[in-house]
């Protein structure tokens, strides 16, 4: 075990750090200001282009795909250095890099890879995910959106939901049902679809945070060329698994939220001192900080596994399961530390206003990308070897459910 950089890693870190010092500052987002979606995305594309030009886009992707051909550890080192700046790296970029690219690289044809990989790395193509439906969330394979083949095209009808950034992205990764006569996991097929295709209507969902970056996406007689099918007919579930693995491994890598809340407590006057003089609060925040460190070190252990070619499997779900609840609890403590002033702060109290938004957002982190309960089942079944859930739909053709 060695948490220090090897000489090669140290050299890479120095190189990355110098490059970032030169290029990152003019892309840094202003503090305490919420940009509108189009402006944020414009900046996200610009930063991605900068990364590409600098040779830091897709660090672990092979050079043949336009990536750097680097190691998992190099990607970690770069992310650590990049994390020192507040840069525009929203879902509009990460869905492309973390979901669309892996699935195209693994299940796509050489032509598809040529068409999408480099353009995505450059920030020219942005992506949304068209997976969940009103009756297919945790039970994703229950999806109903139909794709029917007509010659060289597929005609798609249905409704998707929770499609982050679908209102502004260029392409979507889409999973559909192509054969309802077989059990539900078997009749799925995967596509990429251009978001300005006729028949696609994106309606923003008003979220509890006040933002509307999630959408409902309606597909009415949408024609997708067969050339945009990813993988074979019926291979859709395997494609979804590739995507979700990227989602699990990528989740939970967030900024040091506990330190920020410690600062809020320390800056809250209480009696002759401040809120952080309370033993009870110190105990809870120290526990949160210890858990935050553990999440970071645990993720590092998973990356060591991946760098050796091992598959962490359901272990990866532990990252988000631990992070999401802990984060929600910690952000809740910020309110208790600040007291009444937390529920109606001064308009210029950027730290507390950010906490308002983060606390609302924390609730969805426990649901998106594998709900807590789904992850617990996976850990119990695949890590601990406990029995699977009883399924009423097992082996039953989808159209007989």
């Amino acid at each position: 075990m060695d948490f220090n950089d090897t000489p090669e890693e140290a050299a890479f870190r120095a190189e990355a750090s110098a490059w970032l010092a030169e290029h990152a500052p003019r892309h840094v987002l202003p503090e305490g200001v919420r940009l509108d979606d189009e402006e944020e995305m414009r900046r996200g594309r610009a930063w991605q282009r900068e990364l590409y030009d600098g040779g830091y886009a897709g660090i672990t992707l092979p050079k043949s795909l336009g990536g750097r051909g680097g190691t998992v550890i190099e990607a970690v080192v770069f992310a650590e250095e990049e994390g020192k700046y507040t840069l525009p790296k929203g879902a509009y970029v990460t869905i492309g890099l973390g979901m669309a690219l892996p699935v195209i690289a693994k299940h796509g044809t050489p032509e598809q890879i040529a068409q999408f990989a480099e353009a995505t790395l450059k920030g020219e193509l942005t992506w949304c995910q068209l997976f969940s439906e009103p009756s297919a969330g945790s039970d994703l394979a229950n999806l109903r959106t139909r794709a029917v083949r007509e010659g060289d095209e597929w005609v798609v009808n249905g409704q998707k939901v929770w499609s982050s950034w679908a209102h502004l992205t260029d392409w979507g990764i889409l999973v559909t049902r192509t054969d309802p006569t077989v059990p539900k996991h078997k009749g799925l097929t995967f596509f990429v679809v251009k978001m300005d295709t006729p028949g696609i209507e994106v309606r923003p969902i008003r979220q509890i945070s006040g933002a509307s970056d999630f959408n409902e996406t309606f597909l009415t007689d949408v024609r997708i060329p067969d050339a945009n099918r990813i993988g074979a007919e019926g291979e859709g579930w395997a494609c979804c698994m590739t995507v979700l693995m990227g989602e699990r491994l990528g989740s939970g890598s967030h900024r040091g939220a506990v330190e920020e809340i410690l600062r809020i407590a320390r800056d809250t006057p209480r009696g002759a001192g401040n809120a952080l003089d309370s033993d009870a609060l110190r105990l809870q925040l120290a526990q949160a900080l210890a858990e935050q460190q553990a999440e970071k070190h645990f993720q590092a252990r998973l990356r060591t596994m991946v760098s050796r070619g091992e598959n962490p499997g359901a272990l990866a779900g532990m990252v988000k399961l631990a992070y999401a609840s802990r984060n929600q609890k910690t952000l809740g403590l910020a309110f208790e530390a600040r007291g009444m002033d937390a529920i109606a702060p001064s308009p210029d109290d950027a730290a507390m206003l950010d906490t308002h938004y983060e606390y609302i957002w924390a609730s969805v982190m426990r649901i998106a990308g594998g709900a807590d309960e789904v992850l617990r089942n996976q850990i119990a079944e695949r890590v601990l070897g406990m029995p699977g859930e009883m399924r009423a739909d097992k082996g039953v053709p989808f159209n007989k459910l």
Partner: protein, 371 residues
């Protein structure tokens, strides 16, 4: 960067686990409790033969001179087996303290004996409910003779040697005392952990020598940081044993016509426990590495490991018994060993509040000026 144990460390763990699972069986533990034995002496001798007691003792003093992480690997296995051994008292605390604070002559005299298991030592720091910090230390030491009482002292009945925290010249100081002498009386206390006996040690002008000079508070705090890492490994091992015991029982037990393990209430409970254990283990790994390779990181890393280790073991010890149902309340089931050991570990080596304060004292963001 590499965040995994080395192949040698994995082999060490395997070797220790193999031996302990064979020797320190639950039936053996029950036999020790029933016979009133305070430790598994034959097993101690066997570990000594294999060099395990000297893992972290420098080679010059008869040890193997390995790292804190190697010691952690052993601590995890001892925790898993819930072994009845004075390893924490004699090796993790006393031997380390002699190495940190002792003179050359003291190290030459005692470290080889501790590493070979010939002598068992303990660290007597606590004075009842008052604890060990500052004025709580009332035991008096004049550089040659020691008077006063320490309690509770783990393994105080089998130890031949103790490092005692005592007041000398107005500050807490360390005294090295051989316990088999007329000026020392030992009184066994009703110990919560039936496999780790605690004693009151009374000194009446006992012959003692200084271990190091001056105020011992910083060196004891440093020792506690180092020992907290080992306690975290021990807790992770204990909790992992609880997880597997609960899982195996739930897989076997049939209820309402199906396996107990097929109920989501049980699956989710154990999944949460598995996460808590991996979090505890991750912090323990980092702290074990920091103890040897990044001393400036140690206080915060040790505190974090201690806090997550406690959480994991607390959950494991309680929920394992719960999953077993009524059978878990019987002496014949194995849950109670861990249920008792967990509380003992939880309050030995200072409270959660101490570790919370120690962790927060090392947050760089709090050093900046208040806004």
């Amino acid at each position: 960067m590499n965040f995994d144990l080395s192949d040698e460390q994995k082999m060490l763990a395997e070797q220790a686990r193999g031996l302990l699972s064979e020797r320190s069986t639950p039936d053996r533990l029950r036999e020790l409790i029933d016979s009133g034995a305070e430790w598994d002496e034959p097993l101690w001798r066997e570990l000594a033969e294999l060099g395990f007691l000297g893992v972290i003792v420098p080679e010059a003093y008869g040890g193997l001179g390995l790292s804190e992480l190697d010691l952690g690997v052993l601590s995890e296995e001892l925790g898993r087996a819930n072994a009845a051994l004075p390893f924490f008292s004699s090796i993790v605390l006393a031997a380390d303290l002699i190495r940190l604070a002792g003179s050359e002559a003291q190290k030459e005299k005692w470290l080889p004996r501790l590493a070979s298991g010939e002598t068992v030592a303990t660290f007597a720091y606590c004075e009842g409910a008052a604890g060990w910090a500052g004025d709580a230390v009332q035991c008096a030491f004049d550089g040659a003779a020691l008077s006063g009482a320490k309690r509770p002292v783990a393994d105080g009945g089998i130890a031949g040697l103790a490092v005692v925290l005592a007041r000398r010249g107005g500050v807490p100081a360390l005294a090295l005392v051989e316990l088999d002498q007329p000026g020392v009386r030992r009184e066994k206390l009703p110990s919560f952990d039936q496999l780790r006996a605690h004693y009151a040690l009374r000194f009446d002008g006992a012959k003692a020598e200084p271990l190091g000079e001056g105020d011992a508070t910083p060196i004891v705090a440093h020792l506690f940081d180092r020992a907290a890492v080992q306690a975290a490994f021990e807790a992770v091992g204990g909790s992992d044993a609880c997880l597997h015991m609960a899982r195996d029982y739930a897989m076997e037990r049939q209820i309402f016509g199906r396996a107990l393990s097929s109920f989501q209430a049980i699956k989710h409970k154990l999944a949460d426990l598995a996460v808590a254990i991996e979090m505890g283990r991750s912090n323990a790994y980092y702290a074990g590495w920091a103890a040897g390779s990044a001393p400036e990181e140690l206080p915060a890393a040790a505190a974090a490991a201690r806090l997550t280790g406690l959480t994991a073991f607390e959950m494991g010890a309680r929920e394992n018994l719960q999953v077993h149902g009524g059978i878990g309340y019987t002496f014949e089931a194995d849950c109670h060993f861990y249920y008792r050991r967990e509380r003992t570990l939880a309050v030995s080596l200072e409270s959660r509040q101490y570790w919370a304060d120690r962790l927060l004292a090392h947050v760089p963001e709090l050093d900046e000026e208040a806004a």
